[in-house]
Each structure stands twice: as C-alpha cells, then as structure tokens.
C-alpha cells in the first residue's frame, strides 16, 4: 500500500484521541483512507436520539480534493438522497484544503440540524418539506426511530 500522507495519519490520531462530541470516526483496518463514521442526531432536530452511520473516503488527491462522504443509514432529509449522497457545498464546489475530516463531519451534523429545502438533492422530500414542514418533520422523526435506533 502506498504510504499515507502525514496529514492523514495526524488527522486520524486526533480524531481518536480528541473526538468531536456526538461524532465518531474510525479508519478501516485494511484501508486507512476509509472511515466508518457515526453521527448522533442533533438535539432539537427531528433526528434527535438517532445514530446515523456514514462512510467517508479520502481520495488519492486529498486534501486537494474533498473527502467523499455518504450516509449508510436511511434518512428523510431534503439534502440527502436515497443513496445517501449529501448535498453540501464544502463537499463540492466550496471544498478547501484548509478543511479537514473533523470540520466536514461537523458540517454534516449541522446540516441535520438545519435542513435547506431550497437547495434540494432529494426533490420529493424537499417539496414535502416546503409544503408541509410539520408533516415532513414528523416523517423524519418516524424514519429516525425506524432506521437510526441507537
């Protein structure tokens, strides 16, 4: 296996020794660029009390290129589609090498706390969200209980 850049080793170390509250990220034994991630649903959001599994992959060109992050747990969210892909600017056009795994995961957590139905990825969910926010939130809560049990 090609040697891992120092930066990745360092970030991994820091993630393990000084984890972000409510977020865990562990590299896979066979591939240190692949992380198994869990994020707790933020308090006060419909995702509260849920534990969401994600996968994170650092491409060869990281940090020049953004990490690839995807939800593995089903989630009812206007910016996350049913394949788990996330619509988040810092993962696409606004990526900067000054960001890191830690900040990316925090942003994902923040996205759970404040969905943005005006820039949707899952169109049907976003529509539902705009037309009937209460109903959509109830559904998100229901899905959380159903798929993201702790």
């Amino acid at each position: 296996m090609a040697s891992l850049p120092k930066r990745i080793i360092k970030e991994t170390e820091r993630l393990v020794t000084d984890p972000v509250p409510g977020i865990t990220a562990e590299p896979h034994d066979d591939n240190l660029r692949y992380f198994k991630v869990t994020i707790e649903g933020p308090a006060g959001s419909p995702y509260e009390d849920g534990l969401f599994n994600l996968e994170l992959y650092l491409p060869d060109d990281y940090p020049m290129e953004a990490p690839k992050v995807r939800f593995l747990t089903k989630i009812y969210h206007p910016n996350i589609d049913r394949l788990g892909r996330i619509c988040l600017d810092i993962l696409k056009t606004n990526w900067s090498p000054a960001l890191q795994i830690r900040t990316v995961l925090l942003s994902v957590q923040a996205l759970l706390a404040s969905p943005n139905p005006n820039d949707p990825l899952a169109n049907d969910v976003a529509e539902d969200w705009i037309k009937n926010e209460q109903g959509a939130k109830a559904k998100a809560k229901e899905w959380t209980a159903l798929y993201a049990k702790k």
Partner: protein, 467 residues
C-alpha cells in the same frame, strides 16, 4: 516517520497550554505541518509554497477565505520562514521542560527554615515567616532588609526558565548568567553555606562556587557586557541578587536539573544558530539566476512540441501526453517554489530527484488502486478473461478506456453486487471494498449499461419513496 508527527495539542497538557496556539499558527493549513518555504497571499494568509501552488493548479482561490488567487500573486515570507525554523529547533526542549515541570508535585515554598552561613557578619539568615498569610513571603534577613521570596522566585523563573527558548531568538549573554545562577542555586540548596562577596560583581556566593566557577564566569561576562547591551530582565535580576540575598527556588532539584541539562546544549548551539537564522533572514535575497518557469498552453501544443520542451529542461519524455503534462506541471511547481520562494534553494538535480520521487509515488499509488483493489473486487476465472481485463485496465484512467467492454466483462459481478446490495440494505456494515464498488458504479457513465445498473439499484424493495 511516526515519531515525526507533532501536533499543537502536545502543549495542552504542558505547563503553558496556550503555546499550542503559537504552534498552530506556525503550521500550514494545507499539510498541517510546520510551514516549509512560507508564502503570503494578497489576502494575508500564509501557506507552504509547494502546498499552495499545488492547490492553485486545481482551484484558483485561497483555501482560507476563498478569494481569487493566482500563483503570480504569491510572495515569499523570509521572516516567517526563519521564525518557524528557529522554533522547530527549540520545540522539543521546550516541550520537555514544560512537561517535566508539570509532572512534578508543587512544592511549598514556605515550608522550610534555611539558615545560610555561619559567620554572623557575612551570613544571610533566611527565615520562614509562618504567621504571614501571604504565603510565600519568606523573609530574608540581612541587615534589616527583608526580601520577598515570591519576588525572587518570579525573577528567577522569568529570567532563567522563560527566557530559555527565547534566548535563541534574542541573542544575548543570558545563558551564561543563567548557568551561574543555576549552579549557585544548586550549591546553596544542598546545605547552609558560607557566602562571600565576589570581588568583581559584588554579589554573594558560596566560597567553593566562587572559587571554582563564578570568578571565571564573572570575568568573561564582564568582557561580554562591555560589548553587548544586557537585557533589562537580566539587570532586574542582578539588582535583586545584589541586594544581598540568596535565591531559594521552591523546587530545587527539578529546577536545577532542568537548567543543568539544558546548559551544555544551549551554549554549544548558541553561536551557530545566531548566524544561521538571524543572519540568513537579514541577508536574504531571491535567486535571480533562475527564471520562473512559465505555464504551458498544452491544448495548443503537439506531442513533439511538448517532448521538445521537456527535453530542453532535461526531463524524461516517456509516457502518454497526460503523463508528460503532469510531469511538466509538477516540475514547474517544484521549480518556482524552489527558485522563487525558498531562502535556500536546492540545485536542479535535487529538483529532478524530487520529481522522480513524486512520479514513483504516484505510480505505486495508481498501481495499488487498480490492480489490487479492483482485482480483488473482480475475481476473474479463466486466463483469456484475465487478459482482457488487464488490457482494459491499462487504459483505465485514460480516454481510451472501453466502458462497454468493461461492463460486459464484469456483468456477472455487477449483478451479484446489486443483489448483495439489495439484500443487505437494512443491516449492512460496509467495509473498505464497498466504497470502491460505489466508485466503480459511478464511473459507469455509459448510457446503455450504467442506466440499466442504476435502474436496478433504484428498485430496491424497501424504498418507501418508490413504492
């Protein structure tokens, strides 16, 4: 390689946790390591020259504030460069000392009655003022002049301990003074000692020390003092000491041990570094012999022209057009970073070695990616299939890659994966290979086949959005 990884958090459990901020500030936000050949952007941010040049070739904006940025806007920062270099030299020692002091139990300064000296005329009697609630106020009694230990102690620590790392930047004669203080402390603390004044500086010292070391030091110091202006702190300390007191640090063994330990290192490195960091900064100039390498407009160039350009620079002309372009681009970054930004540029052959290393690491990287991960994923039976696969794999990352054949070749495997994916939807834990699979699926942009694949993916049974 492992032990070279340092982090700002190293300081969080030391005596001065706030140093982690300094440590962070001296690092590049791209590689997270200490700034190497730092350059300044017009928006006021600093990165390693190589890091930022590499990033600009991908995305022309500042990683921190996202404002537009071009390579020509970068300016080298010699001062920051030398600050980082001189910090790196002392970092380990600094950390060592700061951790050591933290681990030691806090000693209580006013827990002792120390009698210094036996001759009533010359001696200093240090008495513990136990009734005093202001705690560390040991009175040092000599001809009715009480001196607070607290003050002496802070003076000692601030002038000797704290200036230890700084003295590397501000070249002064401090180490000499400190070492004399250290030995003084050390010898005084062992037992009550007889103190006699030094004929040169008129301060009090134990006889033995005065004879053995202090006289020599004092003489050298005096000659140095005539040439250099001493730091004000040193002067303050002298004042206190010359009032006729001895110095009792609260934590004698540790303090003296750490001072002793650093003394030889400091002194031997002092002169050399003085020359290297400060003078290097003052005498810094950019290399004018070497011209900046220009960006090439590859789309308008023929292969022969590109080869011509590369061989003019003495670079290899092997590989595809893509390879040659990548080679030139990286060499241009190396070259410009080295000759335009660096304070001590390396020669051209070293640059070429770096380029070869870079190409080799890329090859290894791509090699593992393709032949092992994909190979493991797509276990093939039958030699002729294996050959087809290898032929296709050769062009995997180029335009010539035949997606259709690839899909036909792996149809079975893809079907199996889709089946597995459907099965495992509810309770799956993906491993490293799965994400590779995901990547491969995304690469199948051939309309006929990949649509087919994604349609199948979409018809997952438990999908409530697609009832």
């Amino acid at each position: 390689m492992e032990n070279q990884i340092s982090d700002a958090s190293d300081f969080t459990h030391s005596r001065i946790p706030k140093l982690s901020q300094l440590d962070t500030l001296l690092r590049c936000h791209i590689c997270k390591d200490f700034l190497k050949v730092p350059v300044l952007t017009p928006c006021g941010h600093t990165f390693c020259s190589l890091c930022i040049r590499e990033y600009i070739s991908v995305q022309a904006k500042c990683p921190l504030c996202l404002t537009e940025l071009r390579e020509s806007m970068l300016r080298s920062e010699f001062l920051v460069s030398e600050i980082v270099e001189s910090y790196k030299v002392v970092r380990d020692d600094l950390l060592d000392i700061l951790k050591q002091r933290k681990e030691s139990p806090e000693s209580d300064p006013d827990s002792s009655i120390i009698e210094v000296g036996s001759d009533p005329e010359d001696s200093l009697i240090v008495n513990d003022n136990q009734s005093d609630d202001t705690s560390d106020d040991i009175k040092i009694l000599q001809s009715g002049k009480p001196i607070s230990l607290k003050r002496i102690y802070t003076d000692i620590t601030s002038s000797s301990l704290r200036t230890a790392p700084r003295s590397k930047y501000f070249k002064t004669n401090i180490p000499m003074k400190r070492s004399s203080t250290a030995s003084r402390i050390d010898s005084i603390l062992k037992k009550p000692v007889e103190l006699v004044p030094c004929p040169i500086c008129e301060k009090y010292f134990p006889v033995k020390e005065l004879e053995r070391t202090h006289l020599d030091e004092c003489l050298t110091l005096q000659s140095l003092d005539n040439k250099l202006t001493p730091l004000t702190k040193t002067a303050e300390k002298d004042e206190v000491v010359s009032k006729g007191s001895t110095v009792i640090p609260p934590n004698k063994s540790l303090l003296s041990r750490s001072l002793w330990r650093m003394k030889p290192r400091e002194e031997e490195g002092e002169k050399e570094e003085k020359v290297s960091f400060v003078d290097k900064y003052i005498n810094s100039t950019t290399d004018i012999e070497h011209q900046r390498l220009p960006k090439l407009d590859f789309p308008s160039m023929t292969i022969t022209q590109i080869k011509q350009k590369l061989s003019n620079l003495g670079l290899s002309t092997t590989g595809t057009k893509q390879n040659m372009m990548a080679r030139y681009n990286y060499y241009e970054i190396l070259w410009n970073s080295n000759f335009c930004d660096s304070l001590n540029p390396v020669n051209v052959s070293e640059l070429k070695r770096q380029l070869l290393n870079w190409e080799a690491s890329r090859k290894v990287h791509n090699g593992t990616n393709l032949s092992t991960s994909i190979g493991n994923l797509m276990t093939l039976r039958g030699t002729h299939k294996q050959n087809d696969y290898k032929k296709l794999l050769d062009n995997f990352k180029t335009d010539k890659f035949n997606r259709k054949e690839w899909c036909i070749l792996f149809r079975k495997q893809f079907r199996r994966l889709i089946k597995d994916a459907k099965k495992g939807q509810t309770s799956r834990t993906l491993n490293a290979d799965h994400i590779q699979e995901f990547d491969i699926e995304e690469q199948l942009t051939d309309p006929d086949l990949s649509n087919d694949l994604f349609d199948k993916l979409d018809k997952t049974p438990q999908n409530p959005q697609n009832p």
